[in-house]
């Protein structure tokens, strides 16, 4: 058993972190957030590096690596709050690759892998998804109904109404499939959903990690009553709590990413666990970050609110902690029923 990353994976992580530290500096992210615009130059650069296609099969122009590598990138992009449509594109691509027909995959995956096509994925009820991240600019949509069935729509088939979400670092839209527009994607509950959940969870891990790092730095520096506020246990213990929640989210997301490639039978449960954990951690940790910064944390300039807002969007994406715990309870009930029947 080995939880460590391979040398190649570590290299991907290092390169991604260094690149984003340089290209997605806080002041640049802030500019794009203020303007509610994507960072097209950064997106172009990531596409040239092949990031959107990292986990897509080489047959379709991807790099053919796995969910672990994809999760590494999601975490780093979350940490940097990069204003690019990466997460929606890779989530849509995962479902199309896992559930799509040969024709659907042929039609869409090449563009999604190169980043020329932007994808978006949303949780819909009777054909309408109220808040689809990346939705205002996407070329292809995957809508997943509560029963897990998925529909695929090209831009021209969908009714797209841009929405200003609380997180302006990515576009959003309300998306509908009028009168059964688009085509079914796979049969029954979609298999790619697990991977989409893992990617979202990994982004949340990156957000938590950044919020914790900013907070630790701040409470070491900020002095009141003649000492750094981080020396007070009321403050330091909440920082410890932030680490605990972040590490829980990290370990469950890592496990789920591993199952996606190595043990897909376990993916549905592992992904629900990861998303339940990461959604709760994302909200708690970013809220604690604002609290522990005191008054400054509540200001627009402090940048913490961007983390807090994106964490809320990601936590709600494809269902929050409660929804995924309900799924897990269903799995537990089935298992208890099965063992009682033996």
């Amino acid at each position: 058993m080995d939880f460590g990353l391979s040398d190649d994976q570590r290299e991907i992580q290092r390169t991604a972190r260094e690149l984003l530290a340089e290209r997605a500096k806080p002041e640049r992210v802030r500019e794009h957030a203020e303007a509610a615009s994507n960072d097209d130059a950064l997106w172009g650069e990531l596409c040239e590096l092949g990031w959107p296609g990292i986990a897509i099969d080489e047959r379709f122009g991807g790099q053919g690596l796995g969910q672990i590598e994809l999760s590494i990138l999601c975490e780093e992009l979350g940490r940097a709050l990069a204003p690019v449509p990466f997460l929606p594109t890779v989530m849509a691509a995962a479902v199309i690759e896992q559930d799509g027909s040969a024709e659907q995959r042929e039609r869409w995956l090449g563009g999604l892998a190169s980043g020329e096509t932007i994808g978006a994925l949303g949780a819909a009820v009777e054909g309408t998804a109220e808040l689809v991240i990346g939705g205002a600019q996407a070329d292809v949509f995957v809508l997943i109904e509560p029963d897990g069935s998925a529909r695929l729509l090209g831009r021209e088939q969908a009714e797209v109404t841009p929405v200003a979400s609380v997180d302006p670092t990515r576009s959003s839209a309300s998306v509908s499939a009028p009168d059964g527009a688009g085509e079914p994607l796979g049969e029954g509950a979609c298999a790619g959903l697990g991977r989409a959940l893992v990617s979202a969870s990994s982004e949340l891990v990156g957000i938590c990690d950044r919020a914790l790092a900013m907070t630790v730095e701040y409470v070491k520096d900020r002095r009141q009553f003649g000492v750094p506020v981080g020396s007070y246990q009321a403050v330091s213990h909440r920082c410890a709590q932030m680490l605990l929640e972040t590490e829980q989210a990290r370990s469950t997301a890592a496990f789920a990413a591993w199952t996606a490639d190595a043990d897909p039978e376990q993916l549905a449960e592992a992904a629900a666990m990861a998303k339940a954990c990461a959604s709760a951690a994302g909200r708690e940790v970013t809220a604690a970050a604002i609290q522990l910064h005191g008054g400054i944390g509540f200001t627009w300039e402090a940048d913490l609110h961007w983390l807090y807002k994106r964490a809320q969007i990601d936590a709600a994406l494809l269902g929050g902690a409660k929804r995924h715990r309900a799924r897990l309870a269903g799995i537990l009930a089935d298992r208890a029923g099965a063992s009682a029947a033996v």
Partner: protein, 383 residues
């Protein structure tokens, strides 16, 4: 990342599973109190020892199997899964033996290790004192040199198994003039002397798992100093590090079993259909899994990088809090029956209250995480 066991680990697990399947302890005694229960565990240890399963993590030269950290974790998982008791001499096996292997002289290893393994000589741990709990280094029990012996006077508390123990891992102050961590020495004290009085300490469950030790001029030969005079703090840390490493795995399995039991009860009563109970149980399921993953991650990091990450303290903190939540939830699910004195759930619920105190309080663990993992400044306190 590879979250599967190696063929060698699977072979180890299967061998142990096979042995446990055909070697069960005798039926747990229902009367005779704690003494009968302890005798039953001691008998079980003897059978583990005879088959070479008492402490596989010990090197082969000391009677173990020299297995890896991962295999040792598998050992505790399997012992837990088979629902067999812990070996009677758990403190000797997990703490005393490994400490001697690091700090003991050849003579000490020769003399003490085999009787620990067989359960012939039981060990207890004399660290905490009434005035020295979390602040262990402030302990006051005093040892004074007298010829080739030390004369010890003081009081110890929370000493589990003292009534059965032959040897006590005792930390005492041998120099009152130097800084508090520096004046300590680690001894092996013979419990079979009149100068050592053991008094049971009744806990909120009604039983007396722990004791108080009253030590009045007890005598310890100089040859029973472990790791040198004045080096007691370092030796004690070795013991404490072993405490957290080995027990963690047994504990997370126990938590999993309790949760599975509780889920079965909830399913029987149709409570998994109730969203409030379903949510609470699913949350515990997520916690249980993250404890398992963090425990394994901590251990494989030690194997890979030679040092533990932050997981050790996080696992103990999360486990103790989760066990309290689980047993409290059990009271709600099972109802008044669970509040009947003597029922198993009542015991688990009351015993769990101690989890956030023993082996490092949650407050101390948070300090450790804040200071050593996050690098936050330490609160200055009056000396």
């Amino acid at each position: 990342m590879d979250l599967t066991f190696s063929p060698q680990e699977i072979a180890f697990r299967d061998e142990l599973r096979g042995w446990l399947a055909s070697n069960q302890p005798d039926a747990e005694p229902t009367d005779g109190g704690e003494d009968a229960h302890y005798a039953w565990r001691r008998d079980w240890q003897r059978r583990l020892y005879d088959a070479g399963w008492a402490a596989p993590a010990w090197p082969a030269e000391y009677g173990g199997r020299g297995v890896s950290l991962s295999e040792s974790a598998i050992y505790f998982e399997e012992i837990g899964r088979a629902r067999v008791p812990m070996a009677a001499n758990v403190l000797g096996l997990l703490l005393g033996g490994p400490t001697l292997m690091v700090w003991g002289t050849e003579e000490q290893k020769e003399r003490y290790l085999t009787p620990i393994l067989s359960g012939e000589e039981i060990w207890c741990q004399g660290f905490s004192e009434p005035e020295a709990g979390s602040d262990l280094a402030s302990l006051k029990t005093k040892a004074v040199k007298d010829g080739d012996e030390w004369v010890v006077t003081g009081q110890k508390v929370w000493t589990s198994g003292a009534q059965y123990a032959k040897w006590c891992m005792l930390v005492a102050r041998t120099d009152g003039e130097v800084a508090k961590h520096k004046g300590l020495t680690y001894f092996l004290m013979d419990m079979e002397q009149d100068a050592v009085q053991v008094r049971p300490l009744r806990q909120i469950t009604g039983e007396a798992e722990f004791n108080e030790l009253f030590i009045e001029e007890a005598r310890i030969p100089d040859t029973n100093v472990v790791g040198g005079v004045g080096n007691g703090w370092k030796v004690a840390l070795t013991t404490l590090m072993n405490e957290r490493a080995g027990l963690g795995f047994a504990l997370q399995i126990r938590l999993r079993q309790l949760l599975d039991d509780l889920i079965a009860v909830a399913a029987e009563r149709g409570l998994l259909e109730d969203p409030l109970y379903a949510d609470a149980l699913a949350e515990l399921h997520v916690r249980c899994e993250s404890i398992r993953l963090l425990a394994w991650k901590g251990l494989t990091d030690v194997e890979r990088y030679g040092q533990p990450g932050p997981e050790g303290s996080l696992v103990k903190w999360l486990w103790s809090d989760s066990n309290q939540r689980l047993t409290q939830l059990a009271i709600d699910i099972i109802g008044p029956e669970a509040l009947t004195w003597g029922s198993n759930w009542t015991y688990e619920w009351l015993r769990a209250r101690g989890n956030t105190i023993e082996g490092g309080t949650t407050e101390v663990l948070k300090n450790i995480v804040a200071e050593r993992v996050l690098g936050l400044p330490r609160l200055k306190v009056a000396a």
